[in-house]
Amino acid sequence: MTLLLGALSIGLILSFLALGVFISFRIFHFPDITADGSITFGAALAAVLLVDGVHPLLATLAGFCGGAAAGALTGVLHTKFKIHGLLAGILVMTALYSVNLHVMGRSNVPLLSEITLATYAERIGEVILRSTASLNVLGWEVSVRDGSVFLLLFLAIAISGLVGYLFFRTSLGTAMRATGDNDQMIRALGVNVDNMIVLGLALSNGLIGLAGALLAQYQGFADVQMGIGMVVWGLASVIIGEALVGPGSLGLTITGAIMGSVLFRLMVALALRWGLDPNDLKLITAAFVFVALVAPNFLGELGKRFGPAQRARSSPGRSV
């Protein structure tokens, strides 16, 4: 149960990463690799502030802001200096590695003895349950800390998803979506495309920095290497989510990205539990993403072949 709850909790935390990647890759069609650096930056800032005794909410907010700054920098490199998007992301990500080392002062900052959001979650749980004993959920023992952390994370991501959905239905959000869809048209409609891109990347990496800050507080440490390969996790979550919900409205795709993140962590946790060699983790990641990319088309073909009367679930060839 602890394993399950742990996997789900990390899945929920990394949903913020998935949302961030969704914004840059899917809404802006911008191949943004800054994530590897901004998630660590968010974690580093939050960790250092927490050690200094700053309130966890402020520290987490700082993580968001740090990520946003990194994203804005990538945006500026691309729009003002005309550097290719992919390269701009790589530049910022590479620079952030050193920045993170400076911020943390060393390669790892432990947080187990600090007051973090996890501590607050535990306290809230204790107040609500009026006890510190562990719960009994369906026959399994669940500590108050694990249970309340999971529930609060669920609440946080649900609210964030809703806010994100509402935001992209506003004038500004709609203009952002149009920027990724047809920048020539939106420029002719009076939108400053450069500013949109910088704002969008700031938002995207802000969410990713937030994921980093939350992850550090959950796992009890911030490590300068924790971001490596994170953009792949985020992308895999988005793709798995799309395979789950299919082509649909914005709200559906946002929910899909969140579900994809949770499901992905769950599958990996289960695979490890059933004896998968941790060395094979990246291989399994690639295999999952491959299946997620291919399955919708494959199932669509099967549907067409065995049921001509049925409406085949055809999705136009999606390029990543």
């Binding site: 935001f167 239905r169 506003t170 004038s171 500004l172 959000g173 709609t174 203009a175 979506r177 149009a178 869809d181 047809n182 020539q184 048209m185 939106i186 420029r187 002719a188 409609l189 009076g190 939108v191 400053n192 495309v193």
Partner: protein, 270 residues
């Protein structure tokens, strides 16, 4: 309304691909006029439109719109006053967004976009009315994505979108060139209806001599980055397709004469 003086633009200067797209263009368009622009290939028709719209900054010359100098203004700032329909039916709309959302975007052309709801109910109502007037049956499908529509339908919607907020200047860049004859006809009729109803100042580039002869109240002919003919009033009304074709022929003949003359001079004096 529009005053362009001494416009010049060279692409890829000092390189083997150098193109002097605009070579001293002076154009003054009165308010409410409909100017049709025709010209030989590479004459700079589309470049002129792009220069006015702000897709690039001209090398020399000034452009002013409604008395305001926009020569150095970036494209998105000029968009407040200019409505555009492009040649490519895919350029004027966002393919993966719904018809309603596209209109919502157009309804705020040139305005600050904030956290207000993009698709308000009064906007949806107004949208339904305007789209119904197109008689394309689209008013019931406002939630569908644009990508599912035909080229003609997209151009009709782009035209509606670009004039949703009354623009000071409407730029039409061969907007029926990529359509089949029937759709092109519908879009032209829609163009005529909107331009005459709103009394829009219009600059329309076309390849079609038929359109050039039958539309607009002024005709401008370009060649090699310059304006070589400017027909107004009665002269424009008199012009038929044959007259326009004859003028094109004359330009071609003049070109040939220039080449031979240069050759003769070279043989005589070099």
């Amino acid at each position: 309304m529009l005053e362009a003086c001494g416009l010049a633009k060279t692409f890829n200067p000092q390189s083997p691909n150098e193109v002097r797209a605009l070579n001293g263009v002076d154009l003054a368009v009165e308010e409410g006029a409909w100017v049709v622009v025709i010209g030989t290939n590479g004459s700079g028709k589309s470049t002129l439109l792009n220069a006015i719209a702000g897709a690039f900054i001209v090398d020399t010359g000034t452009i002013s719109l409604a008395g305001q100098d926009i020569t150095g203004s970036p494209e998105h700032k000029r968009a407040e006053f200019i409505g555009r329909v492009f040649q490519n039916p895919f350029s004027g709309t966002a393919a993966n967004m719904s018809i309603a959302e596209n209109f919502a975007l157009a309804a705020r052309r040139g305005m600050r976009r904030g956290l207000n709801w993009a698709l308000g109910s009064d906007l949806k109502q107004a949208m339904r009315e305007r789209v119904r007037s197109l008689n394309l049956g689209l008013e019931a499908r406002l939630g569908n994505t644009i990508g599912s529509l035909s080229g003609g339908q997209r151009q009709a919607l782009t035209l509606l979108m670009s004039t949703w907020l009354r623009p000071k200047l409407l730029l039409l860049d061969e907007h029926t060139a990529a359509l089949d004859p029937k759709s092109a006809d519908q879009v032209i009729r829609l163009t005529e209806e909107i331009v005459s109803r709103e009394k829009l100042t219009t600059l329309m580039v076309t390849h079609s001599m038929q359109q050039a002869a039958s539309l607009g109240d002024r005709l401008v002919m370009m060649h090699r980055g310059q304006i070589i003919h400017d027909l107004r009033g009665a002269e424009k009304r008199r012009a038929r397709v044959d007259d326009l074709l004859a003028r094109f022929e004359e330009v071609r003949r003049r070109e040939q004469l220039d080449e031979t003359a240069a050759e003769m001079l070279r043989r005589a004096y070099v």
